[in-house]
């Protein structure tokens, strides 16, 4: 008799996301995924494949972690000070394991690169939102007179885009105070 699933697809995606975040995509096989989700391996082979669940996990990450985080950033009013708060809270999330291992999107970039068009499309959307959010805050900083060279806004936004990547490595080897000092200095480049 076929096994009846007592979990919704969304519940499975949520659980799968937690596993992919810490183990990556290639580091999880169908059997481990089935055990983690408490379903039989035939569910993974025939119904909800590892690929499907991974795409679901990236979607879950975007809507539950990065989107709310970035929405908050766009709504801030203090320009560069708000950016500093934003990066400080990123450091906290990385160190206190609210983000269990780095940023899932960064991990995926390093692990999967552009091997799959569907995933590449997800990056595209994610990085566009991130860049636009930085630009919104830089505009506010310009309005507040915090930036001497407003014509460099795009260059600064691109530079800031890199911060999430450098932090994703540096948090692994530096203590909180050094990471905060690093952020302060990074923001001092925006003149």
């Amino acid at each position: 008799m076929p096994q009846v699933l007592n979990q919704s697809y969304d519940q499975l995606v949520e659980k799968a996301q937690a596993l992919f975040w810490t183990q990556g995509f290639k580091g999880v096989n169908a059997k481990e995924l089935a055990i983690h989700l408490d379903v039989s391996t035939s569910v993974i082979y025939n119904k909800f494949t590892k690929d499907m669940l991974f795409m679901g996990a990236l979607g879950y990450y975007t809507s539950n972690y990065s989107d709310p985080f970035l929405k908050q950033l766009r709504e801030t009013t203090e320009g560069l000070d708000s950016l500093k708060d934003f990066f400080y809270s990123l450091i906290d999330a990385l160190l206190d394991k609210t983000f269990p291992k780095s940023c899932l999107m960064v991990n995926t970039v390093v692990e999967m690169r552009n091997a799959n068009q569907e995933i590449t499309d997800v990056y595209q959307r994610y990085f566009t939102t991130l860049t636009n959010s930085y630009k919104v805050v830089l505009d506010k900083a310009i309005g507040l007179g915090q930036i001497k060279y407003p014509e460099k806004k795009d260059s600064y936004a691109e530079f800031l885009l890199g911060v999430i990547f450098s932090m994703s490595i540096l948090y692994k080897i530096h203590p909180k105070e050094e990471l905060r000092a690093f952020i302060d200095e990074q923001l001092s480049f925006i003149e």
Binding site: G24, G27, S155, F165, L170, K172
Partner: protein
Amino acid sequence: MRYKEYNTNSVLEKCIPIFWEKGFRGTSIQEIVEITGVNRFSLYHEFQNKEGILYNALKLYQKRYGKSKFEILKKKGNLAAVLQEFYVSFLQGKEKHQGCFYIHIGTELADEDPKIKELIREYLSSLESNLIERLLMEDDTKNNPDFYARHLVGLFCTSMSFCLIHSEKQKQHHIANGIKVILNKKFNYATSS
């Protein structure tokens, strides 16, 4: 005494691409046996476990590939151009092996494996020292080499991850922009007249 029929480095050399492509967790000992042609018993005898193979593979990578790239920093010429060449040197060649093996493995394992964490720390600190040496040679940076080096290491981490999904043009642009933003920072010192 049993005659050792293989060369340790040539075994490790074969392991680097497979760890790179499949990750540490995604690579089984069986696959390592198949790709190296060395049996499980001998592998364990030499390296203790799969982790031991990885640690030694990282060290070999630095010796054979990393070091020669670090040498680029010693080149004479415009600082920004030398830095650009240095970063880009990691992002050339076979697409799936572009980037830095240390950053790749560190992303996967540095949170849970203290030995990997230590290796990454040593690697980045050696990069920082090499950068400082170069920055001391330039009038614009010699007074604050630690500051610039710290942020150029940050840019290294960014380039070895973010640029993996960039086109050739995008990666050149992203790196050049990063170098420019960092080197544009000027420190004003009060001068006595």
